[in-house]
Each structure stands twice: as structure tokens, then as C-alpha cells.
């Protein structure tokens, strides 16, 4: 139990670290309003910068959060965000991310099975080439290729296409791990025993092999969640989806520093929640993890 609490504590500590680091980095920015500087910020933006970050105030780092919880707007009136809007945008991104995760798991299973089949044949080279192509393709490239067909249609098609686009690399990444784990497990004695007792290959896979392979997948869920959320930035920008990724990119482009501080911390919190979720799922599905805790 103590070990579990230490692991949870190590994950949770990331949130205040990110909150403080992003606050002090942003609070130290020399945003200039001088007319002779080509890239000066507007007086309204400079005022919101001092006001929202509580510059010069004791415990100023709490100011953005205080404003957010009071329902006040962070940033300038035209481009800022309130707590409710932030939650709404976050829920949109998380929704797209969850659909993408489901798709990624499907790609992973399909790629792992194909890779296993290709291993002994002439197509073995595809097992290495497909991950390289998937990794070498930034999310915005397939998004740009698909955008003309979906961007003005609405009816959740842009959201679904965004999920499809951002799921490809995580799916292939998970599939590679799953394929390697499957290869190891399929060579074990218990698989041969189950098959020799007359079980069909599908039943052996589902009942015996997959439960042993699942923990390897869980280890990769953290990086996959990071990749999905980071991928959503580009997909939302190209498909014009008004969610969290778009908010973040616009906040950086428009120097809405208080929004950047809050959004960065929220992003880190989402990753921590995913990490904690993975720990819980591991305890449920992996008896070895429960025994280790005991």
C-alpha cells in the first residue's frame, strides 16, 4: 500500500511543479508596449498580463486560478477564456482523444496480428517500414490531405476525422509493442498445452495469451495519451475544431500568458489522471501487480 501511495504521490507532484514552473516562466517575460518595438503587445494585453498573473502580489501564482474559479475571464476580453469555457473545450478534446484511443487500440490489435503473420514471409519488411512511416508523419500532414473533404461538412465528421488522424501513430506504436509481446507469449509452453488440448487458436489467444500481454500495453498508455493529446493540437488547428488544442495554440500565438499557464497545468493534470487510471486498471487486470502490492 505504501508503495502504491508513493507512486501516486510521484505522479501528483507533477501538477504543482508544472503550475509553478509555467507561472514563473510566464511572469518573468518582458512583454513590451513601447511604440518603437515592432512586436509590442497591445496595452490591453499588457494590462491583462499584470492583472491575471498578479505580478508583484504576494501569492500571485494563485491569481489565475482564483479568477478561474470565480468565473472571471482570463486574458483579454476578445480572446480570453473563462473556467466554464475551458472545461467545455477540454471535454471536446478529451472526447476526440477517447475516440482516438479506441481507434488506436483497434489499429494496435490489427497491426500486431498482421506483424505476427508477416514475420515469416516476404512481407516481414513491412513490420519495420510501417512504424517508420507512421512515426515520420506529423499529424498535420494526413490532416491537411483529408481536410478538403471534411472541413465544411460538420455533423461530427471533422471530429471523427481528427480522431482517425491522431490515432494512427499511437496505434502502430502500441501494435509494435503488442506484436513483440505476442511473439514472446505465443512461444511459451502454456500456449502449446492449451492448443494441444483442442482449444481453437482464437480461444487460446483470447483466454490465455491476451491477459498476459495486456500489462505490456498498459505501460505504453502514458506515452500514447501524451501523443494523442499533443496530436490533437495539430488536428484541431487544421480541422478548425474549437477545443483545447486550438485554445492552447491561439493562446501562445496571441501571448495570452495566463491562459498558457492554466492550460499547461490542466494538460499536465490530464496526463496525471491518465497515469492514475492506468495504475487502477493494472491493479484490476494484472494479478501480478496485486501480488506485488500485497
Amino acid at each position: 500500500m505504501r508503495q502504491l501511495l508513493v507512486r501516486v504521490g510521484r505522479q501528483l507532484v507533477l501538477v504543482p511543479i508544472v503550475a509553478l514552473a509555467s507561472y514563473f516562466l510566464m511572469a518573468s517575460l518582458p512583454l513590451t508596449t513601447e511604440d518603437d518595438n515592432k512586436r509590442q503587445v497591445s496595452p490591453e494585453l499588457a494590462a491583462s498580463y499584470r492583472r491575471d498573473l498578479g505580478i508583484g502580489e504576494p501569492l500571485g501564482f494563485l491569481r489565475p486560478w482564483q479568477k478561474l474559479f470565480r468565473g472571471e475571464r482570463l486574458g483579454t476580453s476578445a480572446q480570453g477564456v473563462t473556467g466554464d469555457e475551458l472545461l467545455l473545450k477540454l471535454s471536446g478534446s478529451v472526447g476526440v482523444g477517447l475516440v482516438a484511443l479506441a481507434l488506436a487500440l483497434s489499429w494496435a490489435m490489427a497491426f500486431a496480428l498482421l506483424k505476427n503473420r508477416w514475420r515469416s514471409g516476404r512481407l516481414a519488411v513491412l513490420g519495420d517500414a510501417v512504424p517508420a512511416v507512421a512515426f515520420g508523419t506529423p499529424v498535420f500532414i494526413p490532416a491537411l490531405l483529408l481536410a478538403p473533404a471534411v472541413v465544411e461538412r460538420g455533423n461530427l465528421l471533422p471530429e471523427l476525422t481528427a480522431a482517425l488522424v491522431i490515432s494512427v501513430w499511437p496505434g502502430v506504436f502500441l501494435g509494435t509493442l503488442l506484436g513483440d509481446a505476442l511473439e514472446t507469449e505465443l512461444a511459451r509452453d502454456y500456449v502449446r498445452t492449451a492448443a494441444s488440448k483442442g482449444l481453437s487458436p482464437g480461444v487460446v489467444l483470447r483466454r490465455h495469451v491476451l491477459p498476459n500481454v495486456l500489462p505490456a500495453l498498459l505501460d505504453a498508455i502514458g506515452p500514447v495519451a501524451t501523443a494523442l493529446l499533443a496530436g490533437s493540437f495539430a488536428a484541431e488547428r487544421v480541422f478548425g475544431l474549437p477545443y483545447f488544442g486550438q485554445l492552447y495554440v491561439l493562446a501562445v500565438l496571441q501571448k495570452q500568458v495566463a491562459v498558457v499557464v492554466v492550460a499547461t497545468t490542466v494538460f499536465a493534470s490530464v496526463l496525471v489522471v491518465v497515469g492514475l487510471g492506468v495504475e487502477v486498471v493494472r491493479l484490476i487486470v494484472d494479478p501480478r501487480a496485486r501480488e506485488a502490492r500485497a
Binding site: 510521484r10 507533477l14 511543479i17 508544472v18 509555467s22 516562466l25 510566464m26 518573468s28 517575460l29 518582458p30 512583454l31 513590451t32 518595438n37 515592432k38 512586436r39 509590442q40 517500414a129 512504424p131 517508420a132 512511416v133 512515426f135 515520420g136 508523419t137 506529423p138 499529424v139 498535420f140 500532414i141 491537411l144 490531405l145 481536410a147 478538403p148 472541413v151 502514458g222 501524451t226 501523443a227 493529446l229 499533443a230 493540437f233 495539430a234 488547428r237 487544421v238 492552447y248 495554440v249 501562445v252 500565438l253 501571448k255 500568458v257 498558457v260 499547461t264 494538460f267 499536465a268 496526463l271 497515469g275
Partner: protein, 269 residues
């Protein structure tokens, strides 16, 4: 000395070929490329061909990747070596910090660092860094954590070997062991880690430049696609997107092949 695997040679040849091609076609003889480009003019810049912009962008992207990859690998190696030499609680905390850094996505942190760096440059306190230098420093500050973790683990494995124990027993200091015994064994691994950082840095730069956050001039591949993406969407951009995509994929394929082969060879050695 073990032979360098064929896979690594293929990857290095691909990288070298792309580098030479981008230098010759994008920088030395751009007029030849402009005259012979089968893909025609760029829709948003009628004075330039798609091939000129793609190969010119590849040269910039490759230069950023090489510089950022080298800097982040060097930083990671320095952190790992110092952590191993310090040992104990300091090593544990430094590695936890590296893990925390590693958990955050590169693109997000690079965006924040670009915002901070650009504000400093605009205020005249950017220490002479232009967009290129700023991007390289941002990518290095993001990318050191992965190499630090890998080098630390590799050093830990190497230090468990008998020749290191023998050197220590003969009175070799920490820095002597590191310099004389560990560094020669670590060198191929450093090259493998550097090559693995190369595509990560290029992809992060492409994405951040695509958003329009980095002000890369001349344009990198990402900025090239990002500055005209509205036109690409509405005027059918596959003619423009496909060459840039192919170059990126080939670059990543070359770096991945070489890095994986060298890392496998190092582990077996």
C-alpha cells in the same frame, strides 16, 4: 571490433544522401531545381516552385535536427554522467526530474519555450539568438531528458562489469573510469541516441513551425506547410504536401534504421 550492421549503413546513407541532395538542390543549385520541377509553382508563392521550397525546407529542418539532436544528446550525457558520479539521493532526484520532463509532450513545452524566448528576443535580451538558435535551444531543453535516462541506465550496466570494478580496485577515480573505460564503450551508444533524437527534433520543430509559432526564415518544412495551409485545404494541397511528407518520412526512416541497428549492436557488444 564488431562490424557495423548493413541496416545502419543503409540508414546513414539515406541520411547523408538526403543531406547532400538538400544542400545541392536547395542551397547550391536552386535554379536547376526551379527549372526542372515537375510539381509546378507553389499556390501561395507563384515565384517559387514546390521542389525549391520542399528541398530548401528540408535543408533547414535537417540543420535544426542535427544541431538540436547534438545539443540535447550532449546535455543528456552531461546530466547522466554528473548524476552517476554524484550517486545516492541526488542521482535519484535528477532522474525523477528527467522522468517528469519526459512525461510532457515535446510540442507543448517547445511552444511555451518559444513564447518565452521570442518575448526575450523582442525585448532585446535574447543573447543574440535568432529564430534558428532559439528553436535549437528550445528543442535541446526539451529533449535532454530521454537521452539522460538512457545514458544513465547504460552507464549503470557498464559500471557493473568486471573491468570497471578492476579499475576502481586499482584506485581509478570516478572521472578516470568514465574517461578511460566507460567512454569508449559508450561512444556507439551516443551515436545511436543522437540519431534517435534527430527525427524527434525535426518532427517537433515541424509541428511548432506549422502552427506559426516559430518564425523560421528561410522556411523549414513545417513552416512552409504552415504558412500556406489554408490555401492547401481549399485548393487541393496534395501536390504541395506529398513531397514534404515524403522527405520527412525518408529522413525519419534513415535515422530510425541507423539508430536501431547501432543500439542493437551496442547492447550485444
Amino acid at each position: 571490433m564488431r562490424r557495423v550492421p548493413v541496416q545502419a549503413w543503409v540508414g546513414l546513407a539515406l541520411l547523408g544522401g538526403l543531406g547532400a541532395l538538400s544542400l545541392l538542390a536547395g542551397r547550391v543549385f536552386p535554379e536547376v531545381l526551379a527549372g526542372a520541377c515537375p510539381l509546378g509553382q507553389d499556390p501561395t508563392r507563384p515565384d517559387r516552385t514546390v521542389c525549391e521550397l520542399a528541398f530548401g525546407g528540408l535543408w533547414i529542418s535537417l540543420a535544426i535536427g542535427l544541431a538540436a539532436g547534438a545539443l540535447s544528446t550532449g546535455l543528456g550525457l552531461l546530466v547522466a554522467a554528473l548524476a552517476r558520479m554524484a550517486g545516492g539521493a541526488l542521482e535519484r532526484w535528477v532522474m525523477r526530474l528527467a522522468d517528469a520532463f519526459f512525461a510532457l509532450p515535446d510540442v507543448l513545452v517547445v511552444m511555451v519555450l518559444q513564447l518565452a524566448g521570442q518575448s526575450l528576443v523582442d525585448a532585446g535580451s535574447g543573447a543574440g539568438l535568432g529564430p534558428f538558435g532559439l528553436m535549437v535551444v528550445s528543442l535541446a531543453l526539451v529533449g535532454w531528458a530521454g537521452p539522460a535516462r538512457m545514458f544513465r541506465n547504460r552507464l549503470d550496466t557498464l559500471e557493473g562489469q568486471e573491468f570497471v570494478a578492476a579499475s576502481r580496485a586499482l584506485g581509478g577515480s570516478g572521472s578516470h573510469v568514465l574517461r578511460v573505460h566507460l567512454w569508449p564503450a559508450l561512444r556507439p551508444f551516443v551515436l545511436a541516441v543522437f540519431l534517435s533524437r534527430l527525427p524527434a527534433a525535426i518532427l517537433a520543430e515541424s509541428t511548432v513551425s506549422f502552427f506559426g509559432i516559430a518564425r523560421m526564415e528561410p522556411m523549414s518544412l513545417g513552416r512552409y506547410l504552415g504558412t500556406s495551409y489554408a490555401a492547401l485545404i481549399y485548393e487541393g494541397g496534395s501536390r504541395v504536401v506529398l513531397p514534404a511528407w515524403t522527405l520527412l518520412v525518408l529522413l525519419v526512416l534513415g535515422a530510425s534504421l541507423a539508430s536501431q541497428a547501432l543500439a542493437t549492436r551496442t547492447r550485444r557488444a
